[in-house]
Symmetry: C2
Subunit: 498 residues, 2 copies
């Protein structure tokens, strides 16, 4: 096992440095003063370069061959999967020359800074030159990875976030959803219009009380504060290095639900990171799966669980007491459940409900595919965006801040990421439906405040699997079929039309 052990040592080094990078990223989003951004970009680029050197080492292919021989004798599936993932990581790294790695990183850092200003000023054209430059570099990377991995450029880029993700498999699933949703949305809006509006508890809701409530809920879902933190950032995320999982949220004193639901969402991501196979630490196979699986875990808690009646039967009095409010109809579980699942077509993806969210993703997927293919140039993006929003949701953004400037993904160089949000929503419905079939009275346990039945099921079927298999295979083993929109449609009909 000499070659394989050597490989493991190399990939452990890269894995450790990736965790260092995770500290930098968390710090940048949560702690770093803005003026430090240019120097931090240099520091982070250097770290990426070191990792890239380890992963692109030309000595690796010979070790892969020797390791494959070694593993024939003792074909442990974890080691075989690990070797395959090592080859994949090497292929991704070796495809891109170091200069291009650094150039893309620096262009992304600069573009992201420009984007913050452009969004604040609602001025897309001030971003366009930086975004064009970045897109050129991303397309160059896509072309290089396309050749090395024998994938279409867009698939090669998506594969960075979603190993094994291929647009030809995803598109039919999205098409099915896209065919279902417009009529369904109409039905949901009709149902809502026929009912009384849910009541909005009135604030203010002090940040400190919101934070304590969020921490309590994290604890109830199994988050360990001796190995992780809750903080604030402009956009909620889950990050931090291995063994130190850190989530963030943001507080609105007028509406406690945004921070609470974001905290629960990120707790779903966190449980995945906490429960991935620790005996494969720092090896590729020990990582969480692709972003679709990751999002399935956050949405299983936020959308599938925390916005539903069973969870709120448990949580409503806790929430009310957290703010020292007197009992009242606005605090009834059913009212909160209707409030948290209110469908309102809007401009902003991160504020979208379950029913309209896929339209936001489908729009972005179309546009980024066109940009990578060279069929859409950056200066035409606002027009194409607004046409798409009109087409999909019947809305036209009044400005680009509510339109194509709203997301950080493209200005940070992430093309091929957006589809994973809706893949995750679909997979979440599949997982939760399977858990409900497998665990007797799952909703009863949730209503009683016992979430371990659900989270343990997820740990067994998802978290503990690391990257032993790709998204479709993990799904197939857990629920009997690959990504499939059926369970999601059942979930939507049950929640929104009953």
């Amino acid at each position: 096992m000499q070659a394989y052990e050597k490989l493991k040592a190399n990939f452990q080094r890269a894995g450790l440095l990736n965790e260092v990078d995770a500290v930098l990223h968390w710090d940048q989003a949560v702690m770093m003063p803005e003026g430090s951004a240019p120097m931090r970009a240099e520091q982070a680029a250097e770290l990426s370069l070191v990792t890239h050197e380890i992963l692109s080492d030309p000595a690796l292919p010979d070790l892969f061959e020797a390791a494959a021989e070694e593993l024939i004798r003792d074909a442990n599936p974890w080691d075989l999967a690990n070797l395959a993932l090592m080859r994949r990581e090497h292929a991704h790294a070796a495809a891109v020359p170091p200069d291009l790695v650094v150039a893309e990183q620096k262009a992304a850092a600069a573009c992201e800074m420009r984007w913050r200003q452009a969004r604040a000023e609602k001025n897309f054209q001030s971003l366009a030159p930086d975004l064009e430059k970045l897109l050129d570099l991303v397309r160059e990377i896509g072309a290089a990875k396309s050749a090395a991995l024998d994938l279409a450029p867009y698939d090669a880029l998506m594969d960075q976030f979603e190993p094994g993700g291929r647009i030809e498999k995803i598109e039919p699933v999205f098409d099915e959803l896209a065919a279902f949703l417009p009529d369904f949305l109409g039905d949901v809006l009709d149902v809502q219009a026929s009912q009384e509006k849910p009541l909005q508890p009135s604030g203010p809701f002090p940040v400190e009380a919101q934070r304590r409530l969020g921490e309590r809920m994290m604890g109830e879902f199994g988050f360990d504060f001796d190995r992780g933190r809750l903080d604030e950032s402009h956009h909620p995320f889950c990050g931090g290095p291995m063994g130190d999982v850190r989530i963030t949220t943001r507080y609105d004193e007028a509406d406690f639900s945004s921070a609470l639901l974001a905290t629960i969402h990120e707790t779903g991501h966190a449980l995945y990171e906490i429960n991935r196979p620790s005996d494969r630490s720092y090896q590729p196979v020990g990582l969480a799966g692709g972003m679709a699986l990751h999002e399935s875990q956050s949405l299983a808690l936020e959308m599938q669980t925390a916005r539903g009646l069973p969870f709120l039967t448990h949580a409503a009095p806790i929430i009310r007491e957290a703010f020292g409010a007197a009992p009242g109809p606005e605090w009834e579980p059913e009212n909160l459940s209707r409030l948290f699942s209110r469908v309102v077509p809007g401009f902003i993806r991160v504020e979208a409900d379950e029913v309209t969210y896929p339209a936001h993703v489908i729009l972005r997927t179309r546009l980024e595919r066109a940009m990578i293919a060279g069929d859409l140039v950056v200066v035409d993006l606002p027009g194409a965006w607004n046409d798409g929003m009109q087409d999909l949701l019947g809305l036209t953004p009044p400005d680009d801040a509510l339109g194509c400037l709203q997301d950080i993904h493209w200005p940070s160089g992430a093309f091929g990421y957006f589809p994973t949000y809706t893949m995750g929503a679909i997979a979440a419905a599949q997982f939760v439906a399977a858990a409900r079939q497998s665990v007797p009275d799952l909703d009863g346990h949730i209503a009683a405040g016992d979430f371990a039945k659900l989270t343990n099921w997820m740990t067994v079927h998802v978290h503990s699997q690391g990257r032993l298999a790709d998204t479709d295979e993990i799904l197939t083993r857990a629920v009997g079929r690959p990504l499939d929109v059926g369970a999601y449609i059942v979930h939507l009909k049950t929640r929104y039309l009953n």
Copy 2:
């Protein structure tokens, strides 16, 4: 300049990674949950290893030779100093095999964790085995560096923190101080006993008000919050990466002075980091000087300035108003000045006054020299410590938490660091005396709240010099002589016997 440019590129890589390491260290002290310590130690060790590989690269010596040839033609002192520092950094790194680097790092991380527990339990013997193991590794490193650098082992270790620091130069200075202090301490205590005790403003002093006060003072001294932060940690420190200087303090609601003075102390360190030559970013010559110079900058603000009457003439009403207190004799500048310069022999170094502090350092310097020389074994440390405290300050610690367990330095592997505290106190007196000679009515400016005259003098004579010269040479250029106890003794007499 091909070889020199290559060298600069290599050292820039190491410099960038050192800044990444600074983020990890800050995070570990300020943000990291305790349970994450073991994994963080692995991650940090890997980063050290990468930096060590860059600095110990066997290709460097040939480049040094070629660069020396190149620089003959255009002998810029910055580049010549930079090349000499590169050689020094390479010699330090190449002396120690990578396995030993990692072994020492991990032993230090484990020892530091054990120390936290041992100190809490006041149980030195539970630390002893880990500290012995760490000391063995540090001695091994000292021996290796001794051979490579042609220095005594203790000097070779000290050279890591204080480039050019040699115990044979420091000892006579310390001896002179040690000869002066005991009688002087007696005189000071007599004077204090003959006066009324200064009045203690009564709290509580809410943390939030203390934080705002600290931030205001930092701003008055020139700290830029767009490129730095103030946070809390168990021990105050100044850290963070280049361009993002972060200081910490700790708050006591019963006594505002500890946080305020610690904040001003760390601001002194921060100004050094902020004002070091940015056009030499990430090159060895662009770094701040050794720890003695660094400490001189913190003590110039804290001890020389903030505890003195001119500063407090300006600050006393600001402090009082920060806590919404009514005027009264306890808030008079003279009272606060006497309160902040009260001399009380005690067990704890970090709480010690200017007059007794050197005894703490002299004790530690003696003991760590004996440990490195093999003349003192770890299990005998508590006895030797207590004997020394009795000898130097006439006190015997009631337990090891108030004795040899109080400092983190040895359990974190830092031997040869302690002398720099008192070197810094001495140098601070030299710098401030020279600034007072050079700037007309310096104390008047300070009393008027204008600190720029003082800090600009420090920037010109210290901060902007980077590592162009060592401590003694920087001192000589700025004040006309190397490290010399005269100005310190004048300062002590002026402040404590007048």
